[in-house]
């Protein structure tokens, strides 16, 4: 396998695109969950080889977890991704700062080919001189690559073929002292002078374009306006763009359920498949379009270079909470799903900041909460104009930000300072995002979400269905049968816990099952309230009808403004997600952190939900 290594934004991914003819998939390193791209060289370059695009590194002395992954790859520690040949990707317009890494690789005894990207931004003479100087100093082949046209890739592949295959590239490397590094950078500068290559001409143009855009997008006042406009567009597009697709998914499942029911509704397997499994999956998968669109938006902004600017804009307010601009991307991803968001905290170098970010990520309104809010809000605003639930949802999103901010501030005040608190970052040039990369990453993240949620939903839908169907009695009404089922009996024991927040045992079962994954709440309610989707209005509408007619034993309505508001408050704060809990433990290497987080968030959620219900019951 061939590995591409280089600094972040060195044009590694563009080169990877050319090498593989844009046919690749995004994968996770085994046990390291850092995303990277895996593909094969295109057949137009002859015999095909596997290629891997590693996370960007600044030096062979890693300072963040994802840099470590690259070093481990070079050491040959990943048996599944055994690298045999190495391509060092160097940005031709900034190569002095990348010289130390070349020198470190050489010192470690590695043999490699250098791909000089963005070579089209140099003049012919500069390019020739740079290649000559680097080849002479390194003794490695240096191939200029034209990032726009893909020129030079054929030559690069030939040079790679001539490299001898090895298994380890870095075995022993003495840590560089400050002086050693300074010396290396000076060597780089001297070499640059020898190559007579200052960033000029076309490189200058790309830089000027970036500088001009930054004058607008990072402007003290306008920058903020652009930021708010871009974020508003991103979040509102989740709703209006996804709407038709959600309709298709809903209709598809309704059709499937009808089809299954046509085999005879009194048969047990039909009931299991239609009212158990399909109803559960349908009520959750309907939100996949929203999740995909959010991931697409984030990947698009990431690839264009804007997210680094957004991080710069939020750095000041974040610094008051013990965070920095570096936490922006993880927290933003938290609005899609906490699991990849927690992975994204890996490039935060300060231990304290990473701690705070990890703690508040589950408070960001993730997409698994969407099905829950959507259901509860359509109940609250049943039959009213569409903008009302929309506005309420916006308020919930902002509330989650406020609660997250408060939590960060509290944690910031509690835990001691740690070294490394800073905000130092290189801003990439703006560029047109590669649609292929944006699509591949968004699809990969969405797929990972479905894969994680899928088995949980399946197993729980079975458990809930069995619990609510057996033991079979000859009860006349469905609700009476449920009352006598296993789940009904167990539910009565837990009812006292949920009563103070206005929920009976049926909702309690929903809330408990939601600890596996939040969206399971909706699918559980769908089974517990035994929806009969005879109408063609879809699953959600029939569930709403059931909720409207549900009552306490004394006949008072079960779902009212107070109890539904209490549920919303509960979902806003509670950490109900097995995957998040597991990820927190794995990322922090600490059961203590994961358990503390789980207990703290759920306890606060419960207390606030009870207060909300009691207060609203008195007021209304």
């Amino acid at each position: 396998m061939i590995a591409l290594i280089g600094r972040p934004n060195s044009g590694k991914t563009t080169l990877f695109n050319w090498l593989t003819g844009s046919r690749f998939r995004a994968v996770n390193y085994p046990g390291a969950t850092v995303e990277c791209l895996l593909g094969r060289t295109h057949i137009r370059y002859g015999e095909s080889h596997a290629v891997i695009d590693t996370p960007g590194i600044y030096s062979l002395f890693p300072k963040s977890p994802d840099e470590e992954v690259t070093l481990k790859t070079l050491k040959g520690e990943y048996k599944n991704y055994a690298v045999e040949k190495l391509v060092v990707v160097i940005d031709a317009t900034h190569w002095v700062r990348q010289w130390p890494i070349l020198e470190q690789l050489k010192e470690a005894g590695a043999k490699a080919v250098v791909a000089l990207t963005m070579a089209d931004l140099l003049t012919d003479e500069q390019r020739k001189n740079t290649v000559a100087v680097l080849e002479q100093e390194l003794g490695w082949k240096v191939i200029p690559i034209n990032g726009k046209l893909g020129g030079g890739v054929q030559k690069l592949v030939e040079a790679i073929r001539q490299l001898p295959a090895t298994s380890t590239f870095v075995s022993t490397l003495k840590i560089w002292t400050e002086e050693r590094h300074q010396k290396s950078l000076q060597t780089g500068m001297q070499l640059e002078q020898r190559a007579n290559q200052k960033p000029q001409s076309r490189a200058q143009l790309a830089k000027q374009r970036t500088d001009r855009l930054d004058q607008w997008l990072l402007h003290p006042v306008l920058g903020l306006i652009f930021f708010i406009a871009i974020m508003t567009t991103l979040f509102s597009s989740i709703f209006w763009l996804a709407d038709p697709f959600m309709g298709y998914v809903d209709e598809g499942f309704s059709f499937l359920i009808e089809f299954v029911k046509s085999f005879g509704e009194d048969q047990l397997w039909v009931d299991l498949l239609a009212n158990g499994v399909l109803a559960a999956f349908g009520s959750v998968l309907v939100f996949v379009p929203q999740i995909l669109i959010l991931f697409l938006g984030i990947s698009f902004l990431e690839d264009s270079g804007y997210l680094a600017r957004a991080a710069t804009i939020v750095d000041r307010p974040f610094s008051k909470l013990g965070l920095s601009g570096r936490s922006f991307v993880p927290l933003l991803s938290g609005y899609a799903c906490a699991v990849p968001a927690m992975m994204a905290t890996r490039n935060i170098s300060s231990t304290k900041e990473r701690w705070i970010a990890m703690f508040v990520i589950p408070l960001m309104s993730c997409s698994a909460r969407l099905p829950v809010y959507a259901l509860l809000l359509s109940f609250l605003f049943f039959g009213e104009e569409a903008w009302k639930p929309g506005l309420a949802l916006a308020v919930i999103y902002i509330l989650s930000l406020v609660v997250g901010g408060l939590a960060a501030w509290v944690v910031h005040k509690i835990i001691p300072r740690s070294p490394g608190e800073s905000f130092l970052m290189e801003l990439p040039f703006y560029r047109r995002p590669s649609l292929r990369v944006v699509l591949a990453t968004a699809l990969m993240r969405t797929k990972a979400y479905v894969k994680r949620a899928g088995p949980i939903i399946f197993v729980l839908s079975l458990v809930v269905w069995v619990g609510s169907t057996f033991p079979r009695t000859d009860a006349v009404s469905a609700s009476e049968a449920l009352e006598h089922s296993f789940m009904g009996q167990a539910g009565h024991y837990i009812e006292p816990v949920f009563e103070p927040m206005g929920s009976d045992w049926r909702v309690g079962v929903g809330l408990i099952s939601a600890f596996a994954a939040r969206e399971v709440f909706v699918s559980t309610l769908a089974i517990v309230f035994n929806i009969e989707s005879d109408s063609d209005e879809g699953l959600t509408t029939s569930l709403l009808e059931q909720m409207k007619s549900a009552t306490w034993p004394d006949g008072t309505p079960l779902f009212n403004v107070a109890s539904v508001a209490a549920m919303i408050v509960f979902f806003l704060i509670a950490l109900q997600c097995l995957s998040t809990f597991a990820m927190a433990q794995r990322e922090m290497q600490s059961w203590k952190f994961a358990i503390n987080q789980l207990v703290a968030l759920n306890l606060v959620a419960y207390i606030l939900a009870v207060i909300t219900y009691q207060a609203l019951s008195v007021l209304l």
Binding site: Y58, S59, F61, K63, T93, H94, V96, R97, E178, H181, Q182, L185, Q186, M189, P199, A203, K207, T210, D211, D214, Q215, L218, H219, P220, V221, A308, A311, T312, I313, D315, R316, S319, S324, G325, S349, P419, G420, S422, F423, L424, M425, E426, L427
Partner: protein, 75 residues
């Protein structure tokens, strides 16, 4: 003179970094090297971060980090 005192769009030359080792390393990785030319492109409002031009690359840093960087006028 410290980098914080330098006005926007006024090129200066880096003399020394008086930062803790860890931060000094990060700065070095980003190209902060004795003798290199730096200019401040944007100062964010409310003492927010600075956007710098470091030998042709854009780098963001906080105000308190800019206090650790000693610079001199370009002769």
């Amino acid at each position: 003179m410290r980098l914080v005192e330098v006005p926007v769009n006024h090129p200066v030359r880096l003399v020394e970094i008086e930062a803790p080792l860890e931060m000094a390393h990060r700065l070095r990785d980003l190209g902060f090297l004795k003798g290199i030319e730096i200019s401040i492109k944007i100062k964010s409002p409310f003492s927010g971060p600075y956007v710098l031009d470091v030998a042709g690359a854009s780098v963001v840093m906080r105000k308190n980090e800019a206090e650790l960087i000693v610079v001199e006028e370009v002769p």
